[in-house]
Amino acid sequence: MDVVRPTNLAELLKELQLNSATGILAGGTDFLVNWKGNRINPSTVQSIFDLDELKALVVENGQLIIGAMVTHQELAQSPMVKKYAGVLAEACSLVGSTQIRNRGTIGGNLVTASPAGDSIPALWVLGARLTLRSSSSERKVAVQDFITGPGKTVLKPGEVLTQITIPLPDPAAVSFYKKLGLRQALAISIVSVAVKIKTVADTIETINIACGSVGPTVMELKNTSRSLAGCSLEPVEIWKRVAEAGMETSPISDLRASAQYRQKMVGALLYEGLYELYSQRINS
């Protein structure tokens, strides 16, 4: 495999237009594992990890702008991301290991489009929009519309994901992320849950729930959200409404867990997160 290093974005886009079969190598934590396993074998690949134009991390015009090549570790440790997109910082901090997070990028996580991709449920509840560019076009796609199935996105030949844009959150909203894996690190998630929630006193006003690893891509729990609106944070009331939340998902059974277990864990993780919120409230 011949590794080409475009020196800037314009060069990359030109290469992609001339040769749409060329691969794109970002952090390499998915790409190189697949390449070594002979699941992918492009004859040339564009190495873009160091492209400065894809490393933005800035707040501008009421939006948090994240370049596709920003790493999970950078997002996990950024005070700006912790402040404006806490659930994303949390999700990224749980990816793999320090070594993986220092190379794995948010753009790569999205384009790999694994149903278990950790950052994706967080981006979902944050209402992220993705910028896709080619040498002759630029378009924005909502994260909810980007992934069409396991490993599949709406990227067209010649297009590259350059940026993720997140509107600054309602200061009254809080969020959390829960990941269940077979161990505390270096684990592909069995179930992950990202929640954005607004409360008035101790009652839920609105709640958005996005789950990973329980469907072909992120599953949004719309019915559970509706049933939780107006509900008190009191644990007994919460449990009534989240115990069966997993029924809104369609997990598969695989080597890590059965479908039934995953469905049960959706409710359990949701309960755990909401219980912690409740505890914080009554202790303050």
Binding site: D2, V3, G28, S47, S97, T98, I100, N102, R103, L186
Partner: protein, 154 residues
């Protein structure tokens, strides 16, 4: 064959290698630095951990063409003026080394941790080495060794 220029253990070096050679292979086969090990080749064990631009990374998942202009530090480079790094001494004294296979990677992760966070809590130490698997020691003495160095840093 392309030639890549970067800094290795403080010295400028060159490597004429195929662009898709992993950094791990380059270190072991081309530069003869066999401290980094291939435990899994997939980024799941940490035995190949080195420090690139001050960050701990799995060298099995980096290509030589990606380290052009970078600063690479391996276990062979942590000693200073012939003296072992305090981490190396602490590991030996604490009994944190059994078969030694995970040790180079473990020390590089610990070194990167302390470079970025000189006074980690015990939880932060465990998180810092969470990407390094040890099959022998049960990790307790490894964490103790790192904590000893962190405490001495104060």
């Amino acid at each position: 064959m392309p030639v890549y220029n970067f800094t290795l253990n403080g010295k400028p070096v060159q490597a004429a290698l195929a662009s898709d050679t992993t950094l791990l292979e380059a270190l072991r086969e081309h530069f003869g630095l066999t401290g980094a090990k291939e435990g899994c080749g997939k980024g799941e064990c940490g035995a190949c951990t080195v420090i690139v631009n001050k960050k701990a990374v799995n060298s099995c998942l980096i290509l030589i063409s990606q380290v052009e202009g970078a600063e690479v530090l391996t276990i062979e480079g942590v000693q200073a003026d012939g003296q072992p790094d305090p981490l190396q001494t602490a590991f030996v004294e604490a009994g944190a080394v059994q078969c030694g296979y995970c040790t180079p990677g473990m020390i590089m992760s610990a070194k990167a941790l302390l470079m970025n966070n000189p006074h980690p809590t015990t939880l932060e130490i465990k998180e810092g080495i969470a990407g390094n698997i040890c099959r022998c020691t049960g990790y307790v003495k490894i964490v103790e060794a790192i904590r000893k160095v962190a405490t001495a840093n104060k």
